[in-house]
Symmetry: C2
Subunit: 326 residues, 2 copies
């Protein structure tokens, strides 16, 4: 099943069901007014949403409309929790090298996560605000899950049943602000501004055999400034799976329905796969030539992120432009 | 005006208005069903809520009921953003010394904040779950504000108008898990479990002349195991005011209505004022005697937090007990 949120002038938008080919939608607001409301009562409501999705797949429905991604919010326009992991070791090693920091000693055994701002997400077509060049604006192409209520102390073996939806993410990052902020010891805050999500949230069954062991074995496709930038496989090099991340995040407290957990920037050791952020490419340049060459994003730059399964654009496309905030 | 949230079997509870003496309440769900709904549309709804509050102050209202704090949630049972500052320099210096870490170089010029989990708050009378002794369970007595929508780049001079409510906080902390987690470089996550808030959220005017320059000049009263533990003044030693914190938190993104920003543990240099967490007392013991003496919290321990203005218990009382989670 595919779900999305249509702008309707409210903070949380209107829940809609979307056809598998991303072309047609129909309101689901009679089942649940918003995506959060659906997640709050998923065990009761999801079967009704699936029924509507199947009806939409079978033929035209009264009130259906053509999908216009510009009219969509992120599936959750705001959420109660956005916890981003960093599960691709290649990304951690390269990015830490880029800022002259050592990888943590527990790199392979203890997942890295940070709690991101979840009160003001960007939509899949929203502009990315740019303050000034010192920000070092960068994108990060990622996957994320949305959970239901996860009890404290959930083990990875029990994690799959709590994963209700998958999403695509642009975890916007301000590389210039990260080193001084992390030096203070409390993690990211100003260096991680509002995050954007792909237009469609999909149930795990839509991934078919591409989903195994809590990993999605498909390429993460990023175009930067209208040109190919990367297509790393999101599967094999995800050192900590989404199951591991659920276990990690629920160690000392329960998680509320609608919690979003991100994979971290998708990254492969094979350089021919390109990258999913500018920081990695810059570090590779530095290793090879002694200097950073690729600049960070400036107003006018565009980024496009998507994930294909055969001909199907699973999550729709994140397509954003950087604009000056002043 | 005083507002609270009454348990009603839903995730967000029922918004109620509370008399200034904390004894009587009346539903406000016809004005806004929940606290978040009130904050989402504060400019329209707050005058209606104030009208109800004034009517309740003037005499008895149809449908009013006696307040039973055990029937109340935290004012926001979950929120879209919980950003906790650490604005009392004395606390930072002592706690960092306790874990053998240096204070940040920018201690006096750049506020420290972390993004806390906001999907599952504890109520003012809820038990605090305890995993095992390695957690090093501690309380932290703090103040917090709730904002409306704060534009990106808001300056401290414009911050006051965005502060709609004040609250009392117990920022539960797991001291045993903090050093290894912070060593990874991404800040707190598992070491900061669910936070609890005082029963009543109050508008700034309720603080009267105790509120000046974005600081609350009243004592933070903490009892631990049914005995006095501390009464530091929350005002003069708050190095960064709530206005500074609003400016800091909105540097690179806007903040959504209902954002909670915390002061950090209230702390005074004057030792006769006691402390607002166990970690500080332990560090003072270590400095004076060479060893930590006070153990961290264990099942059965209680903590009580409140703030008085004369005879008035402004926020009601946080009163929690530690219980084994297993």
């Amino acid at each position: 099943m595919k779900l999305a949120t249509r702008r309707n002038g409210t903070r949380d938008g209107e829940l809609i069901v979307v056809s598998r080919d991303n072309t047609r939608g129909v309101s689901a607001s009679d089942i649940a007014p918003t995506m959060q409301a659906a997640l709050d009562d998923w065990s009761t409501l999801s079967s009704k949403l699936i029924e509507r999705f199947e009806a939409l797949q079978s033929g035209s429905l009264e009130g259906e409309f053509p999908i216009d991604t510009a009219a969509l919010e992120s599936p959750l326009p705001r959420s109660y929790a956005w916890i981003d992991g960093s599960a691709y070791i290649n990304h951690i090693v390269l990015v830490r090298k880029a800022r002259g920091a050592a990888p943590p000693e527990t790199l392979g055994t203890d997942p890295l996560v940070y709690q991101g701002g979840s009160d003001t997400f960007l939509g899949p077509r929203d502009d990315i605000p740019w303050g000034d060049a010192s920000w070092g604006l960068d994108f990060e192409s990622e996957l994320a899950i949305i959970t239901d209520d996860v009890p404290m102390g959930t083990k990875k073996e029990d994690a799959a049943k709590h994963i209700k939806l998958f999403m695509l993410v642009n975890d916007v990052s301000l590389r210039g602000l990260i080193p001084p902020e992390l030096k203070k010891g409390f993690g990211f805050y100003v260096s991680k501004p509002s995050t954007a999500f792909g237009p469609f949230a999909i149930t795990p069954d839509e991934l078919g055999d591409s989903l195994s062991d809590g990993r999605v074995h498909l390429d993460m496709l990023t175009d930067y400034k209208e040109e190919w930038y990367g297509n790393p496989d999101a599967g094999p090099e995800m050192h900590f799976s989404f199951h591991d991340l659920v276990q990690h995040c629920s160690q000392t407290r329960k998680l509320g329905a609608g919690t979003i957990i991100g994979s971290g920037t998708v990254s492969n050791v094979d350089r021919s796969r390109g990258s999913s952020c500018l920081a990695e490419k810059r570090m590779i340049e530095k290793i090879d030539t002694g200097e950073f060459k690729t600049p960070f994003m400036v107003p006018g730059d565009t980024v496009r992120i998507r994930m294909m399964k055969g001909d199907a654009n699973l999550f729709g496309t994140i397509q954003q432009k950087v604009v000056s905030a002043t």
